[in-house]
Symmetry: C2
Subunit: 652 residues, 2 copies
């Protein structure tokens, strides 16, 4: 211990749970760092950030400057994927303290010879500590030192150099870091490629893309790519592509008995053809799949795979590793059950198996197998029903060799469980957006995502529907309502997705009243979608995704701010690009039936708009534009025309 250390550094941000988990950022982002830094007494301090990429040994340095209330702020840019480490160091700055005290003494006329000599000692210390400093600087410091020492002259004359900035600026570049304190924790930041924060997902069942009622194949997906591309999505997510079990296969509408020809649920994984590393034969071959990955890449679409760690009774693991499953006293294995509900077509894995090491290895190898085939994005099914420690290990192991993999956690469960999955490595997360409808619900939830601890590690992905969920408000809903939810998802969150055909074709029939399942769910049957029918949102989806691509404001979640409007049926919010140049204002009428309007209040100062000047708002959806002035402006939306404005704000 060095008892001479006087500086305290605490509450460094960003940090997650006291540094137990890394924060998340994306490539090229500027990481804002804050810390409480203070010491006893009233000496002035200096502080700096140390940061490095995991592959670099050398620490880079960035400045920290005091804000208010002993809070210091600084930043650094993260330039490549991987883990960055950073910490903070600070010291009592003797030179700055002396300089500051001298200015006060000079003003009060109390400076004396000895006070000046203290400064000479500091300058001498600097010159001795930095023998290799720039010639120009050492000459300057020697000159000042001599000037200050000139005993026969007036104090004010000797101290003249203190009053211009050169002395302080020069000395600050050669700090004397006596008894410097370095915070002992090296905090981690996981840096992902940009897609972790900005992505547009489209979910489709390949088997429904066949022609003339045939089972669809990967080649059909290739033929479908132009449609997805025209819609403007950049991630095409396929439900599990593995062989589907025959034993206890589910029939249409989740019937416990399958009729002959029923294809079964793609999530009942495994058959005689193999398990999680095999491909359902009717979809095609591994080569077909790799071909699809390449063709998609050509139109800037990534294929996302669905990884669901559960097994049909026909999965090879059942016979090869019966000890990976729960055994019942009668010798049978335990199917999935949430009493009184039973899921006889799937067996859950037992993460308390004594053979957990081999189980973990095998599960990890599923990911690496598909990574080797070219996959970079995984949507993980129900990760909250598998061991947290397994995920933490697997994701960190995979990141060692592959910094570009994105794991999306499909967990619709309790808040703390969802947060934990994000902390232990999932790069994106499904959210409660699906059930947040009113202005109050949307505002509270989005503010939780952007201002609570979640902001540092939880990248939300907003879905208005999934194959499992046709939310109640969309049941029997009309076009207005589908448009409204689409625009909310696509503009509130930088990551969003939709369960495709059902969404743009506005499927709205539930299986049963009071349930959120689709009638004739695609999970249990092959659908014959008429993608080109007139009643489709495809043109609007295409426009919304184009707006997303072209406006950097929508590429982040953090800049989201809600704005007052005197009508609870209308919600208004804005987003801004990091450089402040691109600002979008979105106003949505949440009432699908009636025209609604109100006065929207804008933070003109934050938008850098003069309240006395006219500015323009250009609606990227309709093409119309308005000239506004001042903080409050009137907006009205007719849901039967279009329920939203996506205004680009232009300073004139």
């Amino acid at each position: 211990m060095n008892g001479k250390e006087r500086v305290i550094i605490e509450h460094i941000q960003p940090q997650v749970d006291g540094g137990a988990f890394p924060a998340k950022r994306i490539v090229d982002e500027v990481v804002q760092v804050e810390a409480d830094i203070f010491s006893d007494g009233h000496d002035l301090l200096s502080a700096e950030i140390l940061y490095r990429h995991e592959q670099g040994r050398k620490w880079h340095v960035a400045e920290l400057l005091p804000d208010v209330n002993d809070r210091w702020e600084g930043s650094f840019r993260v330039e490549k994927p991987g883990t960055y480490f950073f910490t903070v160091q600070a010291w009592v700055d003797k030179f700055k303290s002396w300089h500051n005290d001298m200015l006060k003494r000079l003003e009060a006329g109390t400076a004396n010879h000895t006070d000046l000599l203290i400064g000479v000692a500091h300058i001498t210390g600097i010159l001795e500590t930095y023998p290799d400093m720039k010639q120009k600087d050492s000459a300057f410091l020697q000159h000042v030192s001599k000037e200050i020492s000139a005993k026969n002259r007036k104090i004010e004359t000797r101290a003249a150099s203190l009053l211009n900035h050169t002395l302080l600026e020069t000395a600050v570049r050669y700090p004397l870091k006596d008894n410097m304190v370095k915070h002992p924790q090296e905090l981690a930041i996981i840096v992902d490629r940009k897609k972790a924060l900005f992505s547009s997902w489209y979910e489709v069942f390949p088997r429904s893309l066949g022609e003339n009622g045939k089972h669809g194949t990967f080649n059909d997906v290739v033929r479908f790519l132009p449609y997805v591309s025209e819609l403007g999505f950049d991630v095409l997510y396929l439900p599990p592509i593995h062989p589907i079990g025959i034993t206890n296969r589910k029939g249409k509408n989740n019937n416990v008995v399958a009729a002959p020809g029923d294809p079964g649920s793609p999530w009942a994984i495994g058959g005689k053809e193999g398990g999680h590393k095999a491909i359902h034969p009717e979809l095609g071959t591994l080569d077909d799949f790799k071909h699809l990955i390449r063709e998609a890449a050509d139109v800037e679409i990534e294929i996302a795979m669905d990884i669901a760690f559960q097994c049909s009774p026909d999965h090879p693991w059942i016979s090869d590793h019966p000890d990976w499953f729960y055994k019942r006293p009668d010798g049978t294995l335990q199917y999935a059950e949430n009493p009184p509900k039973k899921y006889e077509d799937i067996y859950p894995l037992n993460f308390e198996t004594d053979d957990w090491k081999n189980l973990w290895k095998e599960l990890k190898s599923v990911f690496t197998y598909w990574i080797d085939q070219g996959i970079r994005i995984f949507r993980v099914d129900n990760p909250h029903t598998k061991s947290f420690r397994f995920w933490e290990w697997t994701i960190s192991e995979i990141r060692k060799d592959h910094k570009d993999i994105i794991f999306l956690a499909e967990a619709f469960t309790r808040p703390k469980v969802m947060a934990r999955l994000a902390k232990i490595g999932f790069n994106q997360s499904y959210t409660y957006f699906t059930w947040r409808n009113s202005k109050q619900e949307l505002t509270a939830y989005c503010e939780e995502l952007t201002t609570s601890h979640l902001k540092d590690y939880f990248n939300p992905n907003f879905w208005p529907n999934t194959p499992d969920i046709l939310p109640f408000p969309l049941q029997g809903a009309g076009r207005n309502h589908f448009v409204q939810r689409l625009i909310l998802a696509a503009t509130l969150s930088s990551n969003y997705g939709m369960y495709g055909p059902a969404y743009e074709l506005m499927e709205n029939a539930p299986a049963l009243p009071g349930k959120e399942e689709y009638l004739n769910s695609e999970k249990y049957e092959i659908k014959d979608w008429n993608f080109h029918k007139r009643r489709s949102l495809r043109k609007l989806v295409s426009r919304v995704n184009k707006i997303r691509r072209e406006n950097e404001a929508l590429h982040n979640m953090q800049s989201l701010r809600f704005h007052p409007i005197d009508n609870d049926a209308v919600i208004a919010y804005s987003k801004m690009s990091a450089d402040g140049r691109n600002i979008l204002l979105v106003v949505v009428n949440l009432d699908p039936e009636h025209k609604q309007g109100g006065w929207v209040g804008l933070p003109l100062h934050a938008f850098r708009i003069d309240p006395d000047n006219i500015f323009e708002v250009y609606d990227l959806l309709s093409g119309s534009f308005y000239r506004w002035k001042g903080e409050y402006n009137f907006v009205e939306l007719d849901p039967h025309v279009i329920p939203a404005h996506i205004f680009k704000i232009k300073r004139l």
Copy 2:
């Protein structure tokens, strides 16, 4: 690593800065523990608190039960001073999960033979794990096991024992803790004697207690004890009692030149008679001082000493340890200075001295010397101008041998510095109460103290005045105002104090306009107080302190709640004893000039009062009482009679 562990334990409370510092509690308090506990899947969990006193090796166990949102709650009582450690452990409870699932299956009529056999296996596991369980319990479990196994009977009959509570209750007492997770951190709680949380301080300068204009002595303080006792204080705090320097001694009203006979500031410590372990000769001898400590103890008053680590130019350390001070280039030592202000009568210590180890030891020995003489409470002068690391070490070293010492930090400085001093060991802290006057200011500040992170480690001590501070509102103020601030200090905070004679005698003249110093400050001269003059608050102070002693509600800070009242000039708040039996409602008119009133809203549910029943509020100040009914009741206060009610609430 045990990869079979599935439980996550996080965000345990109480903890300070992620466990970097201990929380604080007092003897006999019940520590409320919370933690987020969950696992993958939907199995039921069990959890418990482990806790122990630092002197005990054995962990005690207390139950944790789930509340909402994966938050678990439990508690344990701390019974003696010292440091307690606690942590949390939890496991997937297979028996409880099976039992819970079975109830659902039985209700749905889906339970089968194998489901029942799983329970038999669990019961067998329990019997094997606890061979020494109570005879009665093992007989019962064996009986149930047999009943459940009876293959020839109906499922419902076999499962009958699941429907009464005995089986679950018995099994829970013999948990199977497979793959239990114990949180790796042992969190610390410093337990103090009650006075750390509940104390009433009176500050007096012994030298002003002499008779016929003579310099007061410890024996004069002994004669003064009945007065302090009648006022009802239990801590009598004396400014430094050490020899006062002669060199550069300050004169009256902080004059830089002392006149002959000027006694100097007691904070300019050290003379030829000695330093921090010596006694100013005019006050008496060490024996006189020890006699005072004993006499005070007889009337349940503790003597608190003032420890100010700074030295007059005549302090022995100056010659014995010149390297403990800042040396100037001219060879002189540096006096205290906050440019352009100079304090030539004191030299600060240099905590960056190379000889810091000896400096720390000597400073610590000052405390242990006075502890050996019988002192248990120290008011530490300006701790924020001395090294934090020094305080942390000293206080923890002293606590090793003395668990009953109370250190009060006299730091009126920035929020984070004050918080840090409390974190590193100070048991009580001066606060900003002195400058919080309006309803909004008082409410916001007190809520920060009772609801932010401060609540776990910062014990506030509210002072309406100090020898250094005559706050602006009290300058020229009348009795109403002094009464108001006294009642606020004494009822908002469980620790409070006053700079005595000046307060109850309502000294209200400032040294200079715009400054908070007293005119003719007692710091620089001997005062001749007329304690028995008519214009005194002594009777009121005596009554307020009696109310404090007799009402347990005022012995804590945590129960403080503010209540709505439709008048910004009136503030209303309540406190409650831990058992909920003693409830006080305080209403203060903050306007010293005009009668003010309003409707006070009370949380009748929290007070366990039926909104349809009449209840009584008995004013402990005036003796009058009122019968109230319902949530809102009217209160009016005339500051010229008395500006406050201290109501005791009685359920009828």
